[in-house]
Amino acid sequence: MVTLRINGKLVRAKEGEMLLPVLQREKIDIPSLCHHKAVEPYGGCRLCMVEITKQEWSGRQNMVTSCLYPAEDGLIIQTHTTALIELRRTILDLYLARCPDTPEIQKLAAQYGVFQTSYEQVAKPDDCILCGLCTRICDRMGFGAISAVNRGHKREIAPPLKNAPPDCVGCLACALNCPTKHIQYTDCGFTREIWGRKFELLADKQTGRPTITREFADYLSTHRDIPRDYFEQNDESHRKETALILGKIAVWNREVPQ
């Protein structure tokens, strides 16, 4: 355990733990868009910047992304100095130039007093802030179907060669965890479309309701040793079947004297 000083308050933290989880545990309001506990920290959105210093640094200060900086003994952290708020305002201003119509960005920018961008708006605005959370989650799941392509102002998130991704299984983890809800998908009846690829959903045998995609079920049964027929029923009919089997056992227990 190490001792930190956050905004003047002494806080205990595990050694090597990143600063952002400690700040969130202390209920300090730090904006962050690209942080997710399931994946390694990345420092993509740059909004969680904090100012750090130490007693032996003789007055030198440094601004770091708190999601990437490990806790050390004697660290003095400031989270809401004038310079930091000005920095976050600039970052949000730049985000607004890129994504002017995104509700999540607008809300966050309004909290910091930025209502309109002072920069020139990009020609084709969209909702993507290029934080890379979708690609990191896809890699964590073990698929790696999407990645960031090109560099500089042409950078974007896309499947290989912008074709339908062959490794995607249609689990929707990227779309559901996107901080700005940029990734579009359609989920209609027994078809699901994401990243330009169409998936067929498996149907429950009894109720005829969709469960998960055929590709995801194949992946889980081959890589994780789960019997394939588990996926051909949804949770509701699984529960009903369990109740029927346990009911038979209960009747049998009642009729057979113990």
Partner: protein, 144 residues
Amino acid sequence: MKARLVITPHLCTGCRTCELACSFTHGRDGKIGQSRISPLNGGFSDIHIPVNCLQCEDPACVKACLAGAISFNEKTGAYEINQEICVHCLACVAACPFGCSLVDNQLNIVVKCDLCGGDPVCAHFCPSKALTYKQLQSKAVGPK
């Protein structure tokens, strides 16, 4: 041997108190939660089965979770979903052969029984003692 939530079907009257207790315990932000336990009819008019997570030895939900969000709690003997790690791929919901990983449509999270951190509320409220939380002497053994 860890304590277990023991279901005794011939004592269950199908009153659904456990479902209510579970929903109200796991609510958040003024909303009630999805009940982790579902009392269902067991195929006979007088047999009711409260279907709940059985905390399997080799659970399919843990094998299916590609993000590694479901972990075993040594203290309570329950498999718990860490909501901060969960990426909502619904693999565990599809994989559980007993259908005991559920989607909470109000709070938009995936839920399963976590034995309320070692003190299951459903067992407290069960009026006929069909649900009890007790220490078992031996493991259940399958047919040879």
